[in-house]
């Protein structure tokens, strides 16, 4: 008896472990605060917004379409393959099963990379079809491995008996063999569907621009903080699958019915409910998915359309409403893709695998792209709204774009320290606080090479564009010293963690600081006295852009004061657009010291410069050494 209780308790423990994160996510879907770190009260608004959010819905339907298609194709191909392999001679069969096992046993990352290399080598353009091929490939083993054991169990004599009774091989197969292996086929299909749905790594390597599955969409949002709509969506998906499974499980079992003696009426009733629960409901769900998929895919923008512009921007860097406005006004379809760091964006442009039309790199990266001849000159006749950009910013831009030929300033800001007033004792005005033992495990550091080294170099009194190996080694030494004090290296997650009081001090971009202050008034931002980095992210057009005029129309559009202001409301990053700034209603924001600091403070700040591939490699190497300590 006691043993039974221990068993039950253990089972319960495992189930709690498995489902605790899921319950957490469900709870977050009802959190009215946008930040996951703070409970802002109960709301159902995300569920409403979810259905208005085209980006998420499109990603959802892409995911479902790929899961459904890849599972279907893999099931057909895999079932046929399993039957064929089963008929092979032992030697070949063992070999084929070995090959089949590869995608399942191989690391996802290796499978993903190998397929990416193949696609690029054979000039497949990365997109929906490459994801589909990749998913079919890793789904196949699941199908084959679930069909194979069934085939082994199947009694060959029933098939031969059917032939003996005059059935054609095809008829015999579908009437005798197929029903026997059907459970294997359907469980293979279900597994394939689930695996495809849950995959991230392989999709991450094989996807192209404009196509996002939920996984890749979520990953690109991880660093920013997930949008609550995604929690709502996941909750809906999870609950509908749960519901489906419960329905299938409560449907009266046919085998049970056969064992018991039941009245004809009961049998009939059971038959009907079985039919409803096991056939109609799942079928209805498939139909809904398909119709929804068609609806959204006709609405969604896919690569290959003539009148489009492919934009590659930072995550959450443009109000989606602005994109819709642009599309409505011009009739140009916007294919929108996001990246997390300059370093992730650069190789994509350089490899030329995808022809982007508009990209938004930071200052030093623009310099590097100009140097490597990756950018096209902008025809400013098509961008009259350039007049709205403040002169001071155009002047700053000359540091990396000497003749203002390639870039249009989009957003700018500074790097500084965000601190929690209730968690620090002294006024903060220096980088030195990041090396203060007092704040061990309460420091959030930027997880990018140049930002991290910039902080250390500035603290040492050097230029943040230093290429002097001694200075860099000194900075590296400082960063290694700092590592034990650091709670985490993050990019945009500083935001949520600071809001949730997880840390006392964080290195952050000024734009994020404004938002965090709105969520948590205890937070304060400062540009340290040693000086810091001022950065400008500008819109550029890559040389291999296929829709240059559309790109210029797009750039011109975002340079409009109304649009710039709209974007400021959306992300609270400083805008170089003087016209836009004038439109900001709240005076405390319009004159915010964080968003628009005094010129005097900016004097201490430097922009990053491109230091050359070799120096970049030195930086990367030094940084990797810091990280792997």
């Amino acid at each position: 008896m006691i043993k039974k209780y221990i068993q039950r308790f253990y089972l319960l423990f495992i189930i709690i472990l498995l489902y605790a994160p899921i319950i957490t996510l469900m709870a977050l879907s009802f959190n009215s605060s946008k930040s996951r770190a703070r409970w802002g009260g109960f709301t159902a608004k995300w569920y409403v917004r979810l259905f208005q959010d085209d980006q998420i819905m499109t990603a959802l339907y892409t995911t479902l379409e790929i899961a459904l298609l890849s599972a279907l194709i893999a099931t057909v191909l895999g079932t046929a393959g399993a039957i064929g392999i089963h008929a092979l001679r032992r030697k070949y069969r063992t070999f084929m099963m070995g090959v089949t096992n590869i995608p399942m046993l191989n690391a996802d990352i290796v499978t993903g990379i190998s397929l990416m290399l193949l696609f690029i080598a054979f000039r497949f353009s990365l997109g929906f079809s490459t994801i589909l091929i990749a998913h079919i490939t890793f789904n196949l083993p699941y199908v084959i491995l679930s069909v194979m054991p069934r085939l082994k169990q199947t009694n060959i004599s029933t098939y031969e008996a059917a032939l003996d009774l005059g059935a054609s091989p095809l008829y015999a197969f579908f009437k005798v063999v197929f029903p026997d292996i059907l459970p294997g086929v359907s469980s293979g299909f279900l597994l394939a569907f689930t695996m495809s749905l849950d995959d991230f790594v392989i999709t991450h390597f094989t996807k192209g621009p404009g196509v996002d599955t939920l996984s890749t969409k979520i990953y690109s949002e991880v660093r920013k903080g997930i949008r609550p709509e995604i929690y709502a969506l996941s909750t809906i998906m999870f609950l509908s699958v749960l519901l489906l499974l419960i329905l299938v499980n409560i449907a009266p079992d046919e085998k049970e019915d056969r064992k018991r003696i039941l009245s004809a009426a009961t049998v009939k009733r059971h038959k009907i409910s079985r039919f409803l629960l096991r056939k109609v409901v799942p079928a209805a769900m498939v139909v809904i998915i398909t119709i929804g998929g068609i609806f959204y895919s006709t609405k969604a923008d896919r690569l290959g359309g003539a009148n489009q512009v492919i934009v590659y921007n930072w995550g959450e860097y443009l109000d989606p409403a602005a994109i819709e406005l642009f599309e409505e006004e011009t009739g140009i379809d916007v294919v929108y893709e996001e990246y997390e760091t300059n370093e992730i964006m650069y190789p994509k442009i350089q490899s030329g695998a995808i022809a982007y039309d508009v990209v938004c790199p930071s200052d030093y990266m623009i310099e590097r792209m100009i140097e490597n001849d990756l950018l096209a000159e902008i025809n400013f006749d098509n961008v009259p709204n350039i007049k709205n950009i403040g002169d001071v910013y155009m002047e700053q831009s000359r540091q990396f774009d000497p003749n203002n030929k390639y870039s249009v300033p989009y957003l700018w800001g500074t790097v500084g320290i965000l601190y929690n007033k209730t968690m620090v004792d002294e006024p903060i005005d220096s980088w030195s606080v990041l090396w203060d033992e007092k704040y061990k495990d309460s420091i959030l550091m930027q997880d990018s090479v140049r930002d991290a080294f910039g902080v250390a170099l500035k603290y040492l009194g050097y230029s943040l564009n230093s290429t002097d190996l001694d200075e860099l080694t000194a900075a590296q030494k400082l960063l290694i010293e700092q590592k034990p004090l650091v709670q985490a290296y993050v990019v945009d997650q500083v935001r949520d963690k600071m809001i949730g009081n997880e840390a006392a001090i964080g290195v952050i971009y000024s734009g994020e600081a404004i938002y965090t202050q709105l969520e948590n008034p205890d937070l304060e931002y400062v540009i340290p006295k040693e000086g810091s980095n001022i950065w400008i992210d500008s819109l550029v057009i890559p040389k291999n852009a296929k829709h240059k005029e559309n790109a210029e129309a797009f750039i011109n559009f975002v340079c409009r004061p109304e649009i710039a202001k709209m974007n400021f409301d959306f992300i609270t990053y400083s805008i170089p657009n003087e016209g836009g700034r004038a439109l900001i209603e709240e005076p405390e924001l319009r004159n915010s010291k964080i968003a628009f600091p005094d010129a005097k403070e900016l004097e201490r700040c430097e922009t990053f410069k491109f230091l050359g591939d070799e120096n970049d490699a030195v930086y990367n190497k030094l940084w990797r050494e810091v990280k792997s300590r």
Binding site: Y10, L11, I14, L17, L18, A20, P21, I22, L25, A37, L77, G81, I83, G84, A87, M97, G98, V99, N101, L105, A107, I109, V110, I113, L115, L117, L118, A121, I133, T137, L140, L145, S187, L191, T194, M195, D198, S215, V222, I226, I230, Y231, S234, M237, F238, V241, N249, T341, P347, D447, Q487, A488, V490, K497, E502, N620, R624, E625, K627, S628
Partner: protein, 276 residues
């Protein structure tokens, strides 16, 4: 008649064989090509040798350590669980399998991310612990959190194959052992455990390989302070843009994968240990 039948059946394997050649074998050869050549296409071992730099070795070593620990934890958690599940009876087997597959319908990234919420200093677990005046759990951004994430994400891959072999063991065989005088511990050690080896091996590889190569879990739960070999490779491809070195490292990883395939081939000849 029979021969013709077999030939037709073999033909059915055709499309799959072509697919496997095109999308499994050739891509692997591509990795070999990149891994063994430099930017100008000359043959070199330089890329593979990159694994011996201290930081890469450390990333590999740490990945090995963490994945071995989490594989062991998964095994220790899963085995008794499967025994309990087997005892519950056959009727519910499909339902049991579903309990473990169901969480996959919540995106894997989100599930992992939710652990941040649970584990953070002011996270849910610590709020609960604080309520009972218990000491706070501070493992976020440490290797322990990564192990937890690995165990959480890959536990089903350990449970399913072990459950599968255990539920296939003839109850008469266990009864026979008891009948011949073995007590429950002896029955477990001499009969149940040896018979479940295929499932254990399959579970171990299915947990070990993804745990060894993950870059997402260490990213999300390790606070980017902890670099695993998966992170190194991912960065080579997505940030450092040195595909040759990345491929070279992937080849190193493949050694471990080939080892686990060999293990499976040795202990699970009949594919009894498949998870599904």
């Amino acid at each position: 008649m029979k021969n013709r039948d077999k030939k037709i059946k073999r033909l059915l394997a055709g499309p799959y064989i072509i697919w496997a050649a095109g999308f499994i074998v050739i891509p692997l050869l591509m990795i070999f090509y990149y891994g063994l050549s430099d930017k100008s296409g000359h043959f070199t071992f330089h890329n593979i040798a990159q694994i011996t730099t201290p930081e890469n070795l450390k990333a590999l070593g740490l990945a090995l350590l963490l994945s071995l620990i989490s594989t062991a934890v998964c095994l220790v958690l899963a085995y008794p669980l499967c025994m309990v599940l087997t005892n519950l009876g056959v009727n519910q087997s499909s339902f049991i399998v579903l309990i473990f597959i169901l969480p996959m319908w919540m995106n894997f990234l989100l599930r992992t991310l939710a652990w941040q919420n649970l584990l953070e200093r002011n996270g849910i677990i610590n709020i609960i612990l604080g309520f009972f005046h218990l000491p706070a759990l501070e493992i976020i951004n440490t290797p322990y959190a990564i192990i937890l994430g690995m165990v959480y994400d890959f536990l089903p891959f350990m449970v399913l194959p072990i459950y599968n072999v255990l539920s296939k063991i003839d109850s008469d065989v266990i009864a026979a052992a008891r009948d011949l005088g073995a007590n429950s511990i002896q029955t477990f050690l001499r009969i149940i455990l040896p018979l479940s080896v295929p499932g254990i091996i399959s579970g171990v590889t299915m947990v070990f390989v993804p745990a060894l190569t993950t870059f997402v879990i260490s990213d999300l739960l390790g606070g980017s302070k902890i670099l695993l070999i998966g992170n190194v490779i991912e960065q080579e491809f997505k940030q450092g843009s040195n595909w040759h070195v990345g491929s070279g490292m992937s080849l190193v990883l493949m050694i471990f994968i080939i080892l686990s395939m060999a293990l499976i081939a040795k202990y699970d000849k009949d594919g009894e240990g498949t998870a599904f």
